[in-house]
Symmetry: none
Subunit: 223 residues, 2 copies
DNA sequence: CGCGCCATTTGGTCAAGCCAATTTGCAGAT
DNA sequence: ATCTGCAAATTGGCTTGACCAAATGGCGCG
């Protein structure tokens, strides 16, 4: 099929492929504009438009009078989850990160958010009473707190870290964690966190969150 | 002071100002390329480069044969806790997260890590002296600190947040940040952070990191 | 051997023109 | 009077060619 996109987009992709293919490693200098344009069969202005697109997304750096250089080979792509990371590493990370985030959340806590949090605790108690795993409620509780900061990046990070626990890689270790006792303990800790948020006490909330996640990690492992 | 940035960046900013000033509302059509180029006193190819930058960051939409249209004016406003602007959101997130992480790092700081950190500062000074953008050194500094915790998740998060700055969305704001003065200020702040780490002082390190990233965000935005 | 000047290389910008997609408007048909 | 269809005008897409400015590298002079 013919590519109907603008030429600079097609050209930018072709240059990306050159880099991805390994023809030009990070730090390497690409051919001069005139030469590269001829090599790719496009005019120099069109190539320049492509280079600007690549410069903007951080693929290359253009130095006047010197040349065009390949920037970080950093692959932000996808999972990256080769994870030699242990569950304890994960829970430690959550403890540190979410404790920091809840400090921000406590400062701007609204009644509306508190209502949503109370709802998750109610649903969580209900799940436990019916011997269902309240994973979704647990997830919602942590996510709502992160979202309440108004910063979507916080929500994203918390979400990713939480879901990490339920990834296939972590699945093997799970199992004993799912006891009613464990979930009841988690519920109680959630209540403690909520109480600190209702009091708009950032430090108490931070302490409660940290305590919750370290305890949760312990429960997860000691079985 | 004369603006030494590339013409397309200056031009893109001037077009942004036209839109921000209200001369062209969302959905409105900008003057034709030929006319707009003459109006701004630049050649058509240079204007086209600027338009591509604006197209990438979602400021405008270019329709072949039709015209150039202003896109989302989507400014949050409203109930006070809706989404902040991406760049400020990003730097706020970095300030909170990396401040929390460096507390962990300070506790287990090794001489080997300190050596690596000092190396990045030296290379950074070298880059600045040679009017190169020390982005890689900046990145390395923050990444080394996160990695020194031994928790790969911290490193991943810091890496992703850092690279976020060079995403297309952030591209439009970049450029102002690239002055030698800004980088020198950043370098000084890095030195302050390093000093706190050498003293194994978690709280001082936390304060220095938070100060650095909020100042960095300010430099990035204030233009 | 070191230093500084100058030609070369390379990116930065401009000018003019032609092509292709879209829009517009007028003319003819209904 | 209105609708339809085609052609001209408008507008972005792309190329060629040229010249300017910054960075680099090599050569010759001290």
């Amino acid at each position: 099929m013919t590519d109907t996109r603008r030429l600079y987009q097609q050209t930018a992709d072709r240059v990306r492929q050159l880099i991805a293919k390994g023809d030009y490693q990070a730090g390497a200098r690409l051919p001069a504009e005139r030469e590269l344009a001829q090599q790719l069969g496009v005019s120099r202005p069109s190539l320049r438009e492509a280079l600007i697109a690549l410069e903007i997304d951080g693929t290359i750096e253009i130095r006047m009078g010197s040349g065009i250089y390949v920037l970080n080979t950093a692959k932000p792509a996808g999972n990256g989850r080769s994870l030699g990371e242990s569950p304890s590493e994960l829970m430690k990370a959550r403890a540190v990160i979410e404790s920091a985030i809840i400090v921000q959340a406590a400062a701007t806590m609204t009644e509306k958010t508190l209502v949503m949090l109370r709802a998750t605790l109610g649903a969580m108690a209900d799940d436990i009473a019916n011997t269902r795993k309240p994973i979704e409620q647990d997830r919602a509780f942590h996510l709502i707190i992160a979202e309440s900061t108004g910063n979507t990046l916080f929500a994203e990070i918390v979400e990713n870290l939480f879901d990490e626990r339920h990834s296939p890689l972590s699945a093997g270790i799970r199992g004993h964690f799912e006891t009613a006792d464990s979930w009841t303990a988690a519920l109680n800790e959630h209540h403690a966190i909520l109480a600190a948020l209702e009091a708009r006490d950032p430090l108490a909330a931070q302490a409660a969150m940290h305590s919750h996640l370290t305890a949760s990690g312990r429960r997860w492992l000691e079985n």
